[in-house]
């Protein structure tokens, strides 16, 4: 067992972790944050995507031991109280959700993307969510939702 300090969704934790424990296991099994999904465990489906120091990463391929002193944002930390984040709002409004299993990962990829590039093209979005497999939507509506979210966020910034 080794001890690490991490900040998850703004809250600080001191945790005893196993050397081979993944960030995904910590989030789901220790912190009860099951919004981050396990889809493959091989880093290919992206259902486990979270933001680590603002970047989209695959929590199934991240040893939690390596996140010591780092900041993690999961889908549960995106809302402001009862208020949805504009990306979440946009997913709801654009029918971008079907089974919803890939949704948290997609939203977290989108979050990192929009932090970096507030005005992405359709192509930028498709490239940045390449790691997020979705078997239901065919990607069209999620891409639309992310582009709409970018507009929303830009609009807020204008104000």
């Amino acid at each position: 067992m080794l001890y690490i300090n991490i900040k998850v969704n703004g809250k600080e934790y001191e945790l005893g972790v196993k050397p081979y424990e993944t960030l995904l296991e910590t989030l789901r099994d220790k912190l009860g944050l099951t919004g981050t999904k396990l889809g493959c465990g091989d880093g290919e489906c992206g259902a486990c995507t979270v933001n680590l120091n603002g970047k989209a990463v695959l929590s199934c391929l991240t040893l939690v031991a390596q996140t010591d002193e780092k900041e993690i944002l999961t889908i549960e930390g995106l809302q402001n109280g009862a208020e949805l984040h504009p990306i979440q709002e946009s997913f709801v409004e654009n029918s971008a959700i079907q089974c919803g299993y890939c949704t948290p990962g997609l939203v977290m990829s989108a979050k990192a993307l929009l932090e970096e590039n507030g005005d992405p093209t359709d192509e930028n979005v498709r490239e940045k969510i390449a790691n997020n497999l979705c078997r239901c939507t065919g990607y069209e509506q999620p891409v639309r939702a992310i582009l709409e979210a970018a507009k929303k966020i830009r609009g807020e910034n204008d104000r």
Partner: protein, 289 residues
């Protein structure tokens, strides 16, 4: 013997020597972990200790008179966005990186990891090979420097001994009139897919004559390889369609691919011709030829 990936220790050494000391003390049962994107996919069973290198400051790209040095712990996203690597011929590293895995994986995967996992199909080694890159290896006895092509000994096998690990990649400076290209073939060019075959080329010209030529390819043998024959055909020549074709065919002749679930050996050999031809044409185009 454990049948499951369950190392009992995770260490974060503070300097190169401590790293080697830990590695050596586990006699081959310790594994360096950088991004983790390779390790946690394969989950090797023969590992007792994981060694994280985050305290070693191996995350840098430096541009100097003698060329470029890249820390082994540099994430791929830094490479694809690097200003220093945006110029000819280095920019093939950015291009190869952009074709490698996905942006999400590139946020954590490192150049050292990509090289050290020594898969026959990896993308950066052929690009680094045509750029005459050397890798710096650190061990208990200090550091040593070897050409990247000599780093690989077989599938998943490198020259690293138990106490050693990679710290840096060094790429020399090139004369003007140098152009390079990296080509990768995937299944219907789907993203994330690893290479069916890949190929890189670099041409340095003196006037219209090819002064130096390098051709490397991956996924055609146990390790990435140079095509010496292609290089001989090109060297000292004024390029034309025929010479490019002959060089590409020579490269294909040197490729010794296997049949596997991703492609047949025959298809791979044919594709080496196509990719090397494209890489040479593009390299020449990039020096205005």
């Amino acid at each position: 013997m454990r049948n499951i990936f369950r190392p009992s220790e995770f260490r974060r050494p503070k300097d190169l020597h401590e790293t080697s000391w830990i590695l050596s003390s586990f006699e081959g049962r310790a594994r360096v972990v950088a991004g983790g994107t390779e390790l946690l996919v394969h989950k090797p069973l023969d590992v007792d200790c994981l060694v994280g290198l985050s305290k070693l400051d191996l995350d840098y790209i430096r541009n100097g008179r003698a060329g470029i040095t890249i820390g082994a712990g540099t994430t791929l996203v830094k490479i694809e966005e690097s200003e220093a690597l945006s110029v000819e011929p280095y920019r093939i590293l950015r291009e190869a990186t952009r074709l490698l895995a996905t942006p999400t994986i590139r946020n954590t995967a490192t150049i050292g990891g990509n090289i050290c996992n020594a898969s026959p199909a990896v993308d950066l080694p052929p690009a680094l090979m045509v750029l005459d890159a050397k890798v710096i290896i650190s061990g208990l006895e200090g550091t040593r420097e070897i050409p990247i092509a000599d780093f690989f000994e077989g599938v998943k096998k490198t020259v690293l001994s138990d106490d050693e690990f990679m710290v840096e990649v060094k790429i020399p400076a090139f004369p003007e009139n140098t152009g390079a290209s990296f080509q990768k073939l995937r299944h219907h060019q789907t993203s994330i897919d690893i290479a069916i075959v890949n190929a890189a080329a670099r041409l340095s010209f003196a006037g219209d004559t090819v002064k130096e030529a390098k051709v490397a390819m991956g996924s055609v043998a146990a390790t990435p390889i140079y095509s010496k024959k292609a290089e001989e055909i090109l060297k000292g020549k004024i390029l034309d369609v025929d010479i490019v074709k002959r060089a590409a065919e020579a490269a294909s002749g040197e490729a010794k691919p296997i049949d596997d679930i991703r492609a047949s050996a025959g298809y791979r050999k044919r594709m080496v011709t196509v990719l090397v031809e494209r890489a040479l044409e593009e390299s020449a185009r990039r020096c205005g030829k």
